[in-house]
Amino acid sequence: MKKKFPATMLAALAAVLLAWLPAPAGSAAWTAIRDARIVPVSGPVIEKGTVLLRDGVIAAVGAQVDVPASAWVIDGTGLTVYPGLIDAMSTWGLPQAAAAAQPAAARAGQQPPQQQAQAQQPAQARSRGPLDRPGTFSWVKAADLVQPDDARLGQARSSGFTTAVAFPRQGIVAGHGAVINLGGKTAGEMVVAPEAGLWLALRPSGYLGFPSTPMGIMAYFRQLWLDAEHYRQALALYAADPVNIPRPPYDRALEAILGAKRVLLPAADPVQMERMLKLAADLKTPAVLYGVVRGYEMAERLKQSGTPAILNVRWPSRDRDADPEQPESYRELRIRDLAPTSPAALAAAGVKFAVSSDGLETPRAVLRALKQSIDRGLKPEDALRALTLSAAEIFGVADRLGSVERGKIANLVVADGDLFDEKTKIRMVFIDGVRYLPEPELPQAPPGPAGRGPTSGEWEEQ
């Protein structure tokens, strides 16, 4: 419905003029991106429309939107607006040490992280059982560790990411993750949801002694959760009768477990998936499985159990360091062939899944990896949903993030084409309504001998 007011013409002219001036990003109360292609994700594509932002929130989206005169108008001609991308399992924004246990750091020739940790703690006493609470940092909250000056944030934004669900990674009960926006002056400003779930690992790290095997870790988790339940019962009894019931000693580890909304557990293949589903049932806590390399074989069961998945999209490839006379097994060949089809398989089965940047060189590589899946049959809208709304839904923040809808946080990515196209450039992202421009690119380095892909030079591997 077109309204013919001369004021609109004037505003449009002003907007065009203003777009050329270095407008201080975010200083206007109203911001409008006009005449852009909008992909809301929660609804059909708007070929030409306007997104109106105010005070960090999306005020309106549509083909016809009233743009206030005072609005800072950005010409969206030839541009596409998407919801800001979400890295569903990340370490962005957290200090590197908290990410110590990340698998990608275990490059050829380097010691695995747990050995490095051990080397730094020569006098550490070994854990002798569950009561020593080995590798347990359930009280650690990513929300308390956010660092707004993390160098990786700029690179993430430059690739279209506005949000990450960041988790501490040290130990086997690493702590609670947080949904954080990848921009803000203070750490507090960045936190959207301070308790995203407890991150659990099945590889011993961050301690010595018990448990030294995945089965030991599983037994330990069961005991820990039983202890938490017992603690809760003791507290309840004490509260009802503080005179006769002895006061239970405060236990920060158990307190933090009682508050866990969900747990994140690793499952790369169907066998591990069954193990983790059983474990989650024993813990009586909803689980989200991460890794899911062989998602193409796990889709049905995930759907049946109602378990969401966070895919690692670092598609397995032939190790450049491999012995050339050592043939790959049939199993390895199949995984390499089929792993990129996991997203499509999960989508077809109706599994809710999102994507993690773990193990990838750059945030851009996430998009490239999904492009490979799209080439193998994944629908682009399913890829986009995984990066946006599904991630928000998995962590219970879909009321505020994940789509371009009125009332949601103004997290957007604006590109000059299809997001998954190699040639497309990200023009800007909005986080809480504040505009960020992509950082300048460094010259392209050719692939190095250790098998690194091209890097933009921003994020050096530690």
């Binding site: 080397a119 059982g129 018990f210 017992h230 066998v271 193990r275 032939r318 750059t362 392209q444 050719p446």
Partner: protein, 452 residues
């Protein structure tokens, strides 16, 4: 109406016959009821009939076994195959862990064991602990998922260990955890004396735990408000042992420690134990037999450790003659190697000790079945039991014999001819995949060089 009845009967029979296999005219080694030339009728996964002459229903699938030998599926009472974790060695009592959780149905060892005639096995926790974790009994149903493998009717069991292994971390030279310097990180026990202590202490605590819960249940029944005892996953499996609900497999070598453990089990009234390895069992065979415990041992291993220096290949025969229920096992951990040759291992008790053919075969069929308390369903060729059967091309106790077919629950899981014809196809498929992946990589390469 009348012509309809035979039609109905025939179609009913045909329906039934669809589930019927007859293994015909082979030499049937039943192990428990003699050996004879005959046939076996398999229906709905069970042995319906076995004898010199059987009723072969029309439409049944016939497997011609003329000139071949049929034995019950081999059962290995001591392995560690198909497990992604074997040993929670960090603590001396690791009863809270379960290797069954780590069962990996994709392990090729399952297939290789199957190709050697093994149809069921007891895959166990390792021996680094005086009291180890929980074990799992499973059938080699290659292709099934983990739950589909498990022999769920088998009673649960737990591992224990005596001798050199469980005390190794109690001395500096044995301890091998990197970064540990101080002696406080040694793991008790460091001697055989301490091993007994760990075991007695654990069962004593289990008894106390049992009592605690009984007291709590009593108080609850009286309507009192009480905090339940803290559930302890380490002690619960031990309570099950005390209550006879969980079997024990105890790894041991020397005669003195075997006797020690016998007395411990007497004190806690624990029965039906299977001693594992038990290489000096022959020295205390009488004491083992008196209590009705079993022994599962190697055929001829010796000298690899000091505690194995008095091991003799006559161990099985001596214990058997003294009245112990004896089985032979492989202790395979990495791959299925020895377990696929248990038929020839069994033959060794004929050489070392002069046992008969049936006694030899029993060592790897009905005897381990009894030790695992699954003999109601497997271990011999008798009507009513599961159709777990192996067809050999020659006498099963000969080293020149090969496994041709293996059935589990009446379904054929291994066929040597089929295995051989599959090989070139697998190679071709791999070559195809390799080329496909190479092409994909070449296509991806130019993209990598474009600026992002």
């Amino acid at each position: 109406m009348r012509p309809l009845i035979p039609l109905l009967v025939c179609s009913a029979a045909a329906l039934l016959a669809a589930d019927v296999t007859v293994i015909q005219n082979g030499t049937i080694h039943t192990v428990t009821k003699g050996t004879f030339k005959g046939s076996i009728v398999i229906r709905d996964g069970k042995i319906a009939e076995v004898g010199e002459k059987v009723m072969t229903p029309a439409g049944a699938r016939v497997v011609d076994a003329s000139g071949k030998h049929v034995i019950p599926g081999i059962i290995d009472a001591h392995t560690h195959i198909a497990l992604d974790s074997i040993n929670e060695s960090s603590v001396s009592v690791s009863s809270m862990v379960s290797v069954g959780e780590m069962l990996n149905p994709e392990s090729v060892s399952i297939y290789r064991a199957l190709a050697g005639g093994v149809t069921a096995c007891n895959s166990m926790h390792g021996s680094a602990n005086a009291i180890g974790g929980q074990n799992v009994v499973f059938k080699m149903r290659w292709g099934a998922d983990a739950r589909g493998l498990v022999f769920d009717k088998a009673k649960p069991s737990i591992k224990m260990a005596l001798g050199e292994n469980p005390k190794r971390q109690g001395s500096p030279q044995g301890l091998q955890i990197p970064g540990l310097q101080s002696p406080q990180n040694l793991r008790y026990p460091g001697t055989r004396l301490g091993v007994e202590d760990v075991i007695r202490d654990a069962f004593t605590r289990a008894r106390a735990y049992q009592r605690e819960w009984k007291d709590y249940e009593a108080r609850k029944a009286r309507g009192e408000k009480a905090l339940p005892p803290r559930r302890d996953l380490e002690l619960e499996p031990l309570v099950e042992v005390l209550e006879g609900k969980r079997l024990v497999h105890a790894h041991c070598y020397r005669a003195d420690e075997i006797l020690m453990l016998l007395r411990v089990f007497d004190d806690f009234n624990i029965r039906g134990v299977t001693f594992q390895h038990v290489l000096e069992g022959y020295k205390v065979a009488r004491e083992i037999a008196e209590r009705g415990h079993g022994a599962s041992t190697f055929s001829d291993w010796w000298s690899y450790k000091v505690e194995a220096y008095d091991a003799i290949p006559y161990n099985a025969a001596i214990m058997h003659r003294k009245g112990v229920l004896v089985s032979l096992n492989s202790d395979d951990a990495g791959g299925a190697e020895l377990m696929r040759r248990l038929n020839t291992e069994a033959a060794k008790v004929m050489k070392y000790g002069g046992l008969s053919e049936d006694e030899a075969l029993a060592m790897v069929t009905i005897n381990p079945a009894k030790q695992l308390q699954i003999d109601q369903w497997v271990g011999s060729i008798e009507a009513g039991k599961d159709a777990d059967l192996v067809i050999y091309d020659k006498h099963p106790l000969s080293i020149y014999a090969k496994v041709e077919k293996v059935f589990i629950d009446g379904r054929q899981y291994f066929d040597r001819d089929e295995d051989m014809s599959r090989r070139p196809k697998l190679e071709a498929e791999k070559e195809g995949l390799r080329r496909k992946l190479q092409d994909q990589q070449k296509q991806a390469m130019p993209q990598n060089r474009r600026p992002s």
